[in-house]
């Protein structure tokens, strides 16, 4: 059975989206291969004159480029950056990123909803980066988003799934891939997001600031695959109280019958302890 990630009209096998910032260009290929990455984000920036190295020269063939609109402070700027990205030769997929807050770098949901509509009307496949807010996510879905990208924690912080309960609501309610973006710092956190039913995980800083960058990409790949497999398998239930034996409660060595207590609970009679403590008849 195929289990593809579907974004707009495109299908992907990999659920690990890599941000390409903060590591040297010459290991880009190795990181992408180690992570089995099919989608990589890019930014659009002023270029200096002269033969500047270009990130595209280091991207393996077949990787889908996902330019972001970082630097945009409102919907109109996001549209302009998206159009520039289109001229630079990517596909239609754009990660909308609109940030006015300079301390925590939190995305502006209201402007992002507007931007989703502007970009969708202009023929783009928008993937909005957003504060995990169910109402805003619904508005973005209605405006034409192809996936929703809620943050786990402030971007670049490696602090993990601080917003897990709010992301869980979106997974339950929104009929689009929920891609956790920003703040994931460890493979275990990526795995948890996938166990919750998220469609994919995006990571950049967690990989780029690791001691061994390609090895960390590989660790994230495994964690994301494990989390997805666990989600598909259906997690076991959680007991709020007490325990439940995993081994059978019958057939003990030297077994006597269990005794039903007055409160209805089964009390186990140990064949060993009971003998030792029994009062002589």
């Amino acid at each position: 059975m195929s289990d593809d990630l579907i974004i707009g009209k495109k299908r992907f096998r990999s659920r690990f989206i890599l941000g390409s910032g903060k590591f040297s260009l010459d290991i880009t290929d190795k990181v992408i291969r180690s992570g089995n990455v099919e989608i990589a984000t890019l930014a659009v920036r002023r270029v200096n004159r002269g033969g500047q190295e270009n990130v595209l020269d280091y991207m393996p063939k077949g990787v889908t480029l996902l330019p972001n609109t970082s630097g945009a402070r409102n919907a109109e700027e996001a549209l302009t950056i998206a159009r520039l990205a289109r001229e630079l030769g990517c596909g239609d997929m754009i990660k909308i990123e609109i940030v006015r807050d300079t301390r925590y770098l939190l995305p502006d949901n209201a402007e992002t909803v507007k931007a989703v509509r502007l970009l969708a009307d202009d023929g783009f496949t928008p993937l909005p980066y957003m504060m995990p807010d169910l109402t805003a996510a619904r508005d973005m879905a209605d405006a034409g988003a192809a996936a929703i990208m809620p943050l786990a924690a402030p971007i670049g912080s490696n602090r993990g799934l601080l917003t897990r309960d709010f992301i869980r609501m979106m997974v339950e309610e929104i009929d689009l891939p929920i891609i956790v973006d920003a703040g994931i710092g460890r493979p275990s956190q990526a795995c948890e997001a996938m166990e919750m039913g998220c469609g994919a995980v995006m990571a950049n800083t967690a990989i780029a600031t690791a001691a061994d960058v390609p090895a960390m990409a590989s660790a994230f790949r495994m964690a994301i695959e494990a989390g997805r497999a666990a989600y598909l398998a259906g997690l076991g239930r959680v007991l709020e109280d007490r325990g439940e034996a995993s081994s059978p409660l019958t057939g003990f060595l030297g077994e006597r019958d269990g005794v039903q207590s007055a409160d209805g609970r089964m009390r186990l009679l140990s064949p060993y302890g009971e003998h030792r403590h029994r009062h002589p008849g």
């Binding site: 941000g19 390409s20 910032g21 920036r45 270029v47 002269g50 520039l84 001229e87 630079l88 800083t205």
Partner: protein, 64 residues
């Protein structure tokens, strides 16, 4: 005119393509915003620059 925020004098009637080639930009990997409007790559050879214009030349860089 202004290019990426810096003041610069240019010869009148120069096209975007001539500017990029003359200044060592790789036109095939650059996108251009002229006075707030995106110049399609196919029009680099026909759109001309004039004094008072504001141009942004951008390309892809690594980023999240």
């Amino acid at each position: 005119m202004k290019v990426n925020g810096e003041n610069e004098s240019i010869a009148g009637g120069m096209t975007v393509k001539e500017y990029l080639d003359g200044r060592g930009y790789d036109a095939s990997k650059s996108a251009v915003l002229l006075n707030g409007k995106v110049v399609p790559r196919a029009e680099f050879g026909s759109v001309t620059l004039s004094d008072g214009d504001s141009m942004e030349i951008v390309s892809f860089v690594g980023g999240g």
